[in-house]
């Protein structure tokens, strides 16, 4: 893994930030939602052209090879303006899997270039929620079963699916318009869609098989989890800025509400949470770039997500409270941030889930020493 210089990261942050701000900044998320489109294809192309989608992918596959630290910078910027494009799932899951399992497949380069959009279907639902088992079957040519919580499927051209095949775990690819494919769409609070997908004898193409698939999945999910944490850091940073601006200008009892000591201390606690969260998530991403073992990567990813969820929930909820009634309206941007924080916290495990995983990983690590 290349050591990325601070200066490169700064340049990356500037260019992605400028691109997103020029595109409309935070307000764009509301516009895209009200236009009833999942995201903006033009911005997607611009992001891809800036190298964003391949930021962590190896250079020989058309990526920038800058590692997770750099991908985290991108994710923070995405979060800062709650950009609706599925950048993190694409970098972390789709490209993350392909760069590990089928680096020669031409679709990897196409995905990095933004020409093909891929979604990944790996989770399944049971009666009480998330299932621990994979029931989806691949018989060598077709796929049968169902997947759930598929992110970014609305605009995807192909879907990568995790299934059980004749030789164990298998990652297959299906076209978004393949036969026997049924989708059920659920809207989320940030206007993004989650898909439940079922397959009945749906033709599918094998990308990889065996233990390497589960190993690649574990790593790709860890990456994505940490990047979701970075996205939360960006988002809660904006919530804090908006809140500080608001309490400095909103007057009640003939003075800015930010001059009341109770409001001041709560703003301080939001600020401290934000600083701790940012420092922890960035440190975790850097540690993942350096890590020797999958276990350590999983541990750091859980650490990052646990912290970022805790901080973002606290900050966005306090932001609403400190905005008072206007915070509860769609007119103010702070609601967009709360709604996106709900989605990002729910995705890939919330704080309690990741605290548990972190401690388990810690103990496994100690036991192995």
């Amino acid at each position: 893994m290349t050591m990325v210089q601070d200066e490169d990261l700064r340049l990356l942050r500037d260019s992605v930030g400028t691109l997103l701000d020029r595109a409309g900044g935070l307000g764009r998320a509301r516009r895209v939602r009200d236009d009833d489109t999942p995201w903006d294809a033009g911005i997607w192309q611009e992001l891809a052209a800036a190298g964003v989608l391949g930021v962590a992918a190896p250079e020989e596959a058309g990526g920038l090879g800058m590692g997770l630290t750099a991908a985290g910078v991108v994710a923070e910027e995405i979060g800062r303006v709650t950009a609706p494009e599925p950048v993190v799932p694409t970098i972390g899951l789709a490209i993350g899997l392909m760069q590990r399992l089928c680096r020669q497949d031409p679709m990897l380069e196409a995905a990095i270039a933004g020409d093909v959009v891929l979604a990944v279907a790996w989770q399944e639902r049971c009666a009480t929620g998330l299932s621990d088992d994979i029931e989806c079957r691949f018989d060598g040519t077709t796929l049968t079963g169902s997947k759930d919580w598929v992110v970014g499927a609305s605009g995807a051209d192909h879907i990568l699916v995790l299934a059980e095949g004749p030789r164990g775990s298998v990652l297959v690819r299906i076209a978004a318009d393949a036969s026997g494919l049924l989708m059920q769409t659920r809207l989320q609070s940030d206007a993004s869609e989650l898909w439940g997908i079922s397959f009945a004898d749906t033709p599918a193409e094998v990308l990889a098989e065996g233990a390497q698939v589960t190993d690649a999945l574990t790593n790709a999910v860890a990456d994505t989890t940490a990047l979701a944490a970075a996205e939360l850091v960006g988002l809660s940073g904006t919530a804090l800025v908006l809140t500080l601006d608001y309490i400095k200008t909103r007057e009640q009892f003939d003075k800015p509400i930010g001059s009341f000591q109770v409001i001041q201390h709560r703003a301080v606690d939001m600020h401290v949470s934000q600083e701790v969260s940012q420092a922890a998530v960035r440190e975790a991403l850097a540690a993942m770039d350096q890590a020797g073992s999958t276990l350590e990567r999983v541990r750091q990813a859980s650490r990052a997500k646990a912290r970022a969820c805790t901080a973002a929930q606290k900050i966005t909820r306090e932001a609403i409270q400190l905005h008072g009634a206007v915070g509860y309206t769609d007119e103010f941007d702070v609601g967009l941030l709360l709604n996106r924080a709900l989605v990002l916290s729910a995705w890939l495990g919330d704080a309690a889930f990741h605290r548990r995983r972190w401690l388990d990983a810690n103990e496994t690590e100690v036991a192995a020493q």
């Binding site: 989770q123 009666a127 009480t128 929620g129 998330l130 919580w149 659920r186 809207l187 989320q188 609070s189 940030d190 989650l194 007057e251 009640q252 009892f253 003939d254 009341f260 109770v262 409001i263 929930q313 909820r317 609403i320 409270q321 008072g324 009634a325 915070g327 509860y328 309206t329 769609d330 007119e331 609601g335 967009l336 709360l338 709604n339 709900l342 989605v343 990002l344 916290s345 729910a346 995705w347 890939l348 495990g349 919330d350 309690a352 889930f353 548990r356």
Partner: protein, 381 residues
């Protein structure tokens, strides 16, 4: 006519419950949103026929004349069975205002129209610059012949887009030395050219709140309620009963019930960490109810409640928020999904609960304002 206050609490509770169970439409139970009047009109007709539209009003004005103890039971049963409060601003606020401060002519004209819902009322208190600091309101009503001419803007006016009338606090003396002075209560029709209503979309995507703009709107001087420029103390007098109502356990109890249903369906009770948090929340609700009973007993003994009743609102709204956050946690990967989540045969709308809990710590006097009040009036700080 039954003397409701003459029968036992238990018997009264049974009567109320039986009526709701027999007559309240199943499809309107625990409505997740505030209905427009048309949606609940058939229920209102039944309630009106029964003479139960206004539980707290004196019998002479068409109310049930309930004493505090019975009134609390009525509301408890209403909340417990999930009976929608209806478009009750007229019943809860305008009626008591007119009964207490209105002229005979005002009583004769307005009260029957409130009971029949011929007039649907909304409340014009808050303004963009007057939220927690309500006395800072600026909407003016200046005398012009036999009319007041109203100019300004109200905000957070619940269901104004489905109301025929508004009762409002307005500034009638802009030169009063203190901002709490020079404020009056006037009634006005919404159906006139100078009144413009725009709905506000909330982050939950709902449109229950409105902005109301007044541009030389008019209302007869006869629609002034009480003495001119004395509206502020009248408004405070109206709050006394609302203060225990807004701190009642109903919302949190319902949310806890939903959490339990949802968590059982999702198998969360097998998780000791969830069990601990659930027990904490459930005890917060149960113990709040003990404190609520203490205040309710005071009311039942005919005592007036002091400022300390504010603590009920602080506790119950913050508990409600924690319960709604727990529901999101139990939902796991579905925690961001809009609409009911199926467990067994029931759907639990986790996100709707979360949203609904948010503004409870803001409205009705934000919890920060409540703490200021307790600090000053109760702790003497």
């Amino acid at each position: 006519m039954t003397d409701w206050n003459g029968i036992s609490d238990e018997e009264f509770r049974r009567e109320v419950r039986a009526f709701f169970e027999a007559e309240y439409p199943e499809e309107l139970r625990h409505l997740p949103h505030r209905p427009k009047f048309a949606e609940i009109e058939h229920w209102h007709v039944k309630l009106h026929a029964k003479g139960w539209v206004a539980p707290a009003w004196p019998i002479e004005f068409g109310g049930m004349g309930l004493e505090a103890a019975k009134l609390l039971i009525f509301y408890e049963e209403q909340q417990h069975y999930g009976v929608n409060r209806g478009r009750d601003m007229g019943i809860q606020m305008v009626g008591p205002l007119i009964i207490k401060f209105g002229t005979e002519a005002q009583k004769d004209y307005w009260l029957p129209r409130i009971l029949s819902c011929e007039d649907i009322w909304c409340q014009g208190y808050s303004e963009p610059g007057a939220g927690s600091d309500l006395a800072n309101l600026r909407t003016s009503a200046m005398i012009d012949g036999d009319n007041f001419v109203i100019n300004g803007q109200k905000i957070w006016t619940t269901m104004a887009h489905d109301a025929t009338h508004i009762f409002m606090l307005v500034r009638t003396d802009p030169d009063a030395p203190k901002k709490q002075q020079g404020i009056s209560f006037v009634l006005a029709s919404m159906d006139q050219p100078g009144v413009d209503v725009r709905t506000i979309t909330t982050l939950a995507g709902e449109t229950e709140f409105c902005e109301v703009f007044f541009d030389n709107a008019r209302t007869p001087r006869a629609n002034l309620v009480g003495e001119i420029n004395k509206g502020w103390s009248m408004a405070k007098a109206l709050l006394s009963f609302e203060r225990i109502f807004i701190g009642s356990p109903g919302l949190a109890q319902n949310a806890l019930g939903q959490l339990e249903t949802f968590a059982r369906g999702r198998g969360a009770f097998d998780d000791p960490v969830f069990r601990d948090r659930y027990a904490e929340a459930a005890l917060d609700v149960e113990d709040h109810a003990a404190l609520y009973s203490r205040f309710a007993d005071q009311l039942k003994r005919g005592e007036t409640l002091g400022a300390d009743v504010s603590m009920l609102k602080i506790w119950v709204t913050e508990t409600y928020q924690r319960i709604s956050e727990l529901m999101i946690e139990v939902a796991g990967p579905d925690g961001g999904s809009i609409g009911p989540l199926q467990v067994g045969n029931v759907g639990v709308d986790v996100l709707a609960s979360f949203y609904k809990a948010r503004p409870t710590t803001i409205y009705g006097g934000s919890n920060e304002i409540q703490r200021n009040i307790l600090s000053k009036a109760v702790l003497g700080l």
